[in-house]
């Protein structure tokens, strides 16, 4: 077993090395082939690991393999080790699987790009770090992956670096994430202080025996959560994610929707045994999650950029995952992580297919507009059927239509909120679900239905994307539909297989604080019924406004101008941050340099020098070079000495 666990991340790393060093010489075909093959291999290895794990008794499914001691100083001993348990098994499957699909799609999407080799090298590197993040058996190892994926995100957002705005977006992502990482680091220091070890199992073992006050768990939980808030784009650190859409669309699908941004959720789930020790920290997780879910959904209502809508939707859905964790239903959070990876990756890839087509049409008509603005789309349904139908499947899934993957995972989160006594959180999550259904169908209707609203003649150049792009869409489409069937709850006569599979990973948490949630079936059916009703009303609402009566939203927007502007401008949060944080920091820094460094310290130094010079210029006058002067001085001196000796 332990023999090939390392290979799972290392194979993609080999791809990075080959493509990074020799990519330009190899040519695009070879680069694409290598790039996809290594990820495919990682996926196959992940399946093998998963199958092997299934062979064990459920509570024996915990395999740790340590390779060498990475970092050691005194009591601090950090092994380079991998941990395979149900949680990480799910993560490596999702990560390598979705990555493989997106790598294949990228062959078509990035075709002909100057930086083709660089793109695949970065993407391979990303998968390496992401797999390390989920497989690492200690906090520091997870942190390596954590920072590594951040780096790749930075590099890929600013992939087309000659565009300064894109480079700025990349930098913003990195720096905002660093603020979160700061929290992560402090959390790690607290952990080391409290437990003297930094492996997950080492800490978990001690938590079970903990007798001292539990305050430290609150602080650890909070600090780690700050890290999660940065990486998973929650309030107040979500601002980097919408800007991150500057990267190539497959990157948005892979990094900024399906995998990297879910790292925070994984981290909270991985630390379930910490969080259950501190109800206060869990409460914060739940409330930040639900607040973000609602907040981002309201912004998504009015955005006109196809990728921006999806970006805010991602932020909102990540909020749901945190709600799941925050109400103690870690498995529900991870379920949603998985289904979201399917349907959101699909939505982004679909959006990429649309942008590709629109850009193509623009190029052919010599028009240089923004190919992502849905106000100038419409009627794409007939032109690109595969893209359309898969996009609809994903939209139905995210909207929570019964039977599709998103329904099971989202419903589970909402139900567990109520069942575990967080009704207020549950109600807000329901409202956000209504908004989700609405803005997603608004997107579908504006993009694919109606008639083309761009320049005349352009619509003739709109074509379906090539097979290398539509095949991945189809695969993800199928997953978006059936991906939730392993999660069908007992209430619907399913086996809740997925939750059961994950259970051992949360065993310690369960032992510390068993959740005695409600098991009332009628209550569960009621919640489920309301969820379904809300999803359908959201869809109908969108249909009413964007198909039947397109004037209605415009009228509303002009009637409630302030509210509309507020949403359109994303509550002016970026502007506020810019003023409160960026300008203040730069101002302080400038003052420190120009005033303190130059005026005070150097002023003092140069002042001492000047003083010496001045003293020197005075004493210099004594050195006249005239013998009679010196003779006079001598005489005066002799007189003084004799006088002193006489009168002392």
């Amino acid at each position: 077993m332990s023999n090939y666990l390392y290979l799972i991340p290392l194979v993609p790393f080999a791809g990075f090395i080959v493509n990074g060093l020799f990519g330009r010489k190899l040519g695009d075909r070879a680069v694409g082939f290598i790039g996809c093959t290594v990820i495919g291999l990682a996926f196959v290895l992940s399946i093998a690991a998963f199958v092997e794990l299934l062979g064990y008794d459920p509570y024996q499914r915990h395999i740790e393999a340590e390779w060498f001691t990475w970092l050691a100083a005194g009591k601090l001993q950090i092994p380079f080790g991998m941990l395979l348990d149900p949680l990480s098994a799910v993560m490596i499957l999702v990560v390598s699987g979705v990555s493989f699909i997106i790598h294949v799609y990228s062959i078509g999407y990035m075709h002909g790009d100057r930086g083709y080799a660089r793109y695949f090298a970065y993407l391979n590197l990303f998968v390496f770090f992401m797999l390390l993040l989920v497989l690492g058996n200690s906090y520091p190892l997870m942190f390596i992956g954590w920072e590594g994926v951040g780096l790749c995100s930075y590099l890929l957002i600013g992939f087309w670096f000659t565009d300064d705005a894109k480079a700025t977006a990349g930098k913003k992502a990195f720096i905002v994430n660093r603020i979160g990482d700061f929290g992560f680091l402090v959390g790690v220091f607290l952990l080391f202080g409290a437990f003297g070890t930094l492996t997950f199992s080492g800490v978990a073992d001690q938590v079970l025996l903990w007798v001292d006050p539990k305050t430290v768990f609150f602080w650890i939980g909070l600090c780690l959560f700050i890290g999660a808030v940065g990486k998973s784009a929650q309030i107040p650190l979500y601002v980097w994610l919408p800007d991150a859409m500057a990267g190539p669309t497959p990157v948005s699908a892979l990094i900024h929707a399906a995998t990297m941004v879910t790292a925070g959720v994984y981290m909270v789930a991985r630390n379930s045994f910490i969080y259950v020790m501190s109800p206060g920290a869990l409460e914060i997780v739940a409330w930040v999650g639900v607040a973000t879910a609602l907040f981002a959904a309201t912004i998504a209502l009015v955005q006109n950029d196809i990728k921006k809508v999806l970006a805010y939707s991602t932020i909102s859905q990540l909020g749901y995952m945190f709600v799941g964790c925050g109400v103690g239903a870690f498995a529900a959070g991870i379920s949603h992580l998985m289904t979201h990876a399917f349907f959101k990756a699909l939505l982004f890839l679909g959006a990429g297919s649309v942008i590709h087509a629109v850009q193509h049409a623009y190029n052919h008509t010599g028009y240089t507009g923004d190919p992502q603005d849905i106000r100038f789309m419409g009627g794409l349904r007939g032109k690109m059927p595969t893209t359309y139908w898969t996009f609809v499947a994903a939209t139905l899934a995210i909207a929570g239509v019964p039977g599709l993957s998103g329904f099971f995972s989202k419903d589970e989160i909402i139900w567990k909120s109520f069942a575990n006594g967080h009704s207020a959180v549950g109600i807000i999550a329901m409202i956000a679900a209504l908004l989700t259904a609405f803005y997603m169908f608004r997107l579908v209707y504006m993009t694919f239905h109606g008639s083309w609203r761009g320049r005349r003649g352009q619509e003739d150049h709109l074509h379906e994307s090539p097979g290398v792009m539509t095949l991945p869409l189809t695969v993800l489409g199928v997953l978006s539909i059936i991906g939730g069937w392993i999660m069908i709850p007992h209430a619907l006569h399913g086996g809740a297989w997925f939750e059961k599979f994950l259970e051992p990973s949360f065993a310690v948490a369960d032992e510390i604080a068993p959740m005695h949630g409600s098991h009332s079936l009628p209550f569960e059916y009621t919640i489920m019924g309301i969820s379904v009703l809300l999803a359908i009303s959201g869809i109908l609402w969108a249909r009413a406004w964007y198909i039947q009566n397109p004037e209605a939203p415009k009228k509303l927007a002009s009637r409630f101008k302030v509210a509309y502007q507020l949403l359109l401008n994303k509550y002016y949060v970026d502007e506020a941050y810019n003023f409160a944080v960026v300008e203040t920091t730069l101002g302080t820094a400038d003052g420190l340099w120009k005033f303190f460094d130059v005026k005070i310290v150097d002023g003092l130094v140069n002042g001492v020098a000047a003083l010496m010079g001045w003293l020197g210029s005075i004493f210099r006058r004594l050195q006249t070079g005239l013998v009679s002067n010196y003779a006079l001085m001598m005489t005066v001196g002799v007189v003084i000495i004799i006088g002193y000796l006489v009168w002392r």
């Binding site: 060498f68 970092l71 100083a73 660093r178 680091l185 402090v186 730069l586 460094d597 310290v601």
Partner: protein
């Protein structure tokens, strides 16, 4: 064979050889310099591979730790000895010096066109001076090397420097002199009083037999610490550094940042902490405070710089703050982190200065605003610059993270508040380096002069890649280096009563 003496004095021999050359024999001077410094590195490798990492476990003084020790009378009337030897910490610094110097010399081949012979002469003498400082186990010998190395550095800045070089060179030498005078007083005090019934400059004996009263420790700590703090430089004694760096030739900056500053931090570990432990405890709070201020202050000021070299210079203030914070955390993690961070800073900042020099030679400007978009023209340069910047930012997997992480873990155990403030430096480092990187490398090319820039030459590539090897090595497998200094650090901690 005495490889330690050989390592120390080989450069000096090279310098003497150079005297025999004709004045215009530029090419020969270059070859002699490169050859001797490379041979020096080879000689030091013998030390590296011959070093016994297990020696001196549970040591309480230097006696058990020293390897390659040589002890011969020098000035017998004053009981001064030629006493040299290496422990783990000094071995690491010796290796850093012998590794960086040939790279500096090779890197100067194109940029130094005036007074070529003198330049390499100064460089070789400088190397001997630095190596001597790290190996000396006699206080007078130490002081001689300490002062001797000032002169060639002064000349490197003052003769081969930029337009404002004289001001910078004088500032550099006066700042350092002020500190070292008090240190001399401290050394004399130790000579007369440290070991009862004996007058000795021998550091090993002072470690072993020294009885330094608590009241005297406070003054001695102050006298030594001032000299070292200026050298590090610690806030607020840092203002000589940006000037010296901006004016110094590229190789001068590399050796200055890479190695010379480490003489200050080395001094703290070698003298202030183990000899004056009681005072060290009293001053620890202040030192940690200054270190944290340095970390944040250096980073903030760095952010505002318009000159790339000055930006890197100020970032040194920040990075050395981490070293000092680790040393004064008084635990294994902090002090090992501080030690490895000395090496990291030497590699990363050295590489950054070299990279700035690469582009300066091509365009004769270091202003950030004169660039933009050059990633397109110089992709290899851009890639290496990115990796080095990331190492400086502290990205896990590269060397900087190892040092910073250990330092912060250690500091957090001693003082959570300071550690939390220091950790914010992690955010700022990303800001100033990535911002600079973006303005230099990304966007469209705005200055026509930049369109004709050529990518790295073979020599430049070899130099940079050899540094990168260690940047990655320390990041991935730090044990190679941490295990060298472990016993020495443990000794210091034992003496501190930890």
């Amino acid at each position: 064979m005495d490889f330690l003496s050989l390592t120390i004095f080989l450069p000096l021999v090279g310098a003497l050889l150079m005297l025999a050359l004709r004045k215009e024999a530029d090419k020969a001077a270059k070859m002699v310099a490169l050859a001797t410094s490379t041979l020096t590195f080879a000689a030091s490798l013998v030390l590296f591979f011959g070093f016994d990492r297990a020696k001196g476990a549970y040591a309480t003084g230097l006696a058990d730790l020293l390897q390659f020790e040589v002890n011969k009378p020098w000035i017998e009337t004053l009981n001064i000895h030629y006493h040299i030897g290496l422990d783990g910490i000094s071995l690491l610094l010796v290796m850093l010096t012998t590794f960086i110097t040939p790279l500096c010399i090779w890197g100067s081949f194109k940029s130094i066109k005036q007074g070529v012979k003198g330049y390499y002469l100064a460089f070789l003498i400088l190397e001997t001076g630095i190596l001597g400082v790290f190996a000396a186990m006699d206080l007078v010998l130490f002081y001689v090397f300490w002062e001797a190395m000032l002169i060639p550095m002064y000349l490197l800045i003052g003769v081969w420097g930029g337009p404002n070089r004289v001001y910078a060179a004088v500032k550099f030498i006066l700042y350092t002199m002020v500190g070292s005078l008090l240190m001399l007083v401290g050394i004399l005090w130790l000579y007369f009083n440290a070991v009862p019934g004996e007058h000795t400059f021998d550091l090993v004996r002072i470690f072993q037999l020294g009885q330094i009263p608590v009241e005297a420790q406070a003054y001695l700590f102050g006298a030594f610490a001032l000299a070292f703090a200026i050298k590090v430089p610690m806030f607020p004694f840092h203002t000589w550094l940006p000037d010296a760096h901006v004016e110094a030739p590229t190789a001068g900056s590399i050796i200055l940042a890479g190695v010379l500053l480490k003489m200050g931090t080395y001094g703290f570990v070698r003298f202030c902490l183990p000899l004056f432990p009681s005072a060290a405890h009293d001053y620890a709070g202040l030192m940690m405070l200054l270190a944290v201020i340095g970390i944040i202050y250096g980073a903030l000021v760095s952010m505002m710089q318009t000159d790339m070299k000055k930006l890197v210079a100020y970032s040194s203030v920040s990075h050395l703050g981490f070293v000092m914070l680790g040393l004064f955390a008084f635990n294994m993690q902090g002090m090992q982190g501080g030690t490895i961070q000395m090496i990291n800073h030497g590699l990363s900042t050295g590489a950054l200065f070299f990279l700035v020099g690469v582009i300066y030679e091509r365009r004769h400007t270091r202003m950030i605003a004169d660039y933009g978009g050059i990633a397109k023209i110089m992709p290899k340069y851009a890639t290496i610059f990115m990796i080095v910047a990331l190492s400086s930012i502290g990205l896990p997997g590269l060397n900087g993270f190892i040092g910073e992480f250990l330092v912060l873990v250690g500091a957090f155990k001693t003082s959570p508040t300071y550690a939390i403030f220091a950790a914010s430096g992690v955010v700022f480092a990303a800001v100033y380096l990535l911002w600079m990187y973006q303005r230099v490398f990304f966007g469209e090319i705005t200055h026509d002069a930049n369109k004709k820039l050529t990518d790295l030459t073979t020599a430049e590539k070899v130099i940079l890649v050899s540094i990168l090897v260690f940047i990655v090595w320390i990041g991935v497998y730090p044990s190679t280096f941490l295990s060298i200094s472990e016993n020495s650090v443990a000794m210091v901690l034992t003496r501190l009563g930890g």
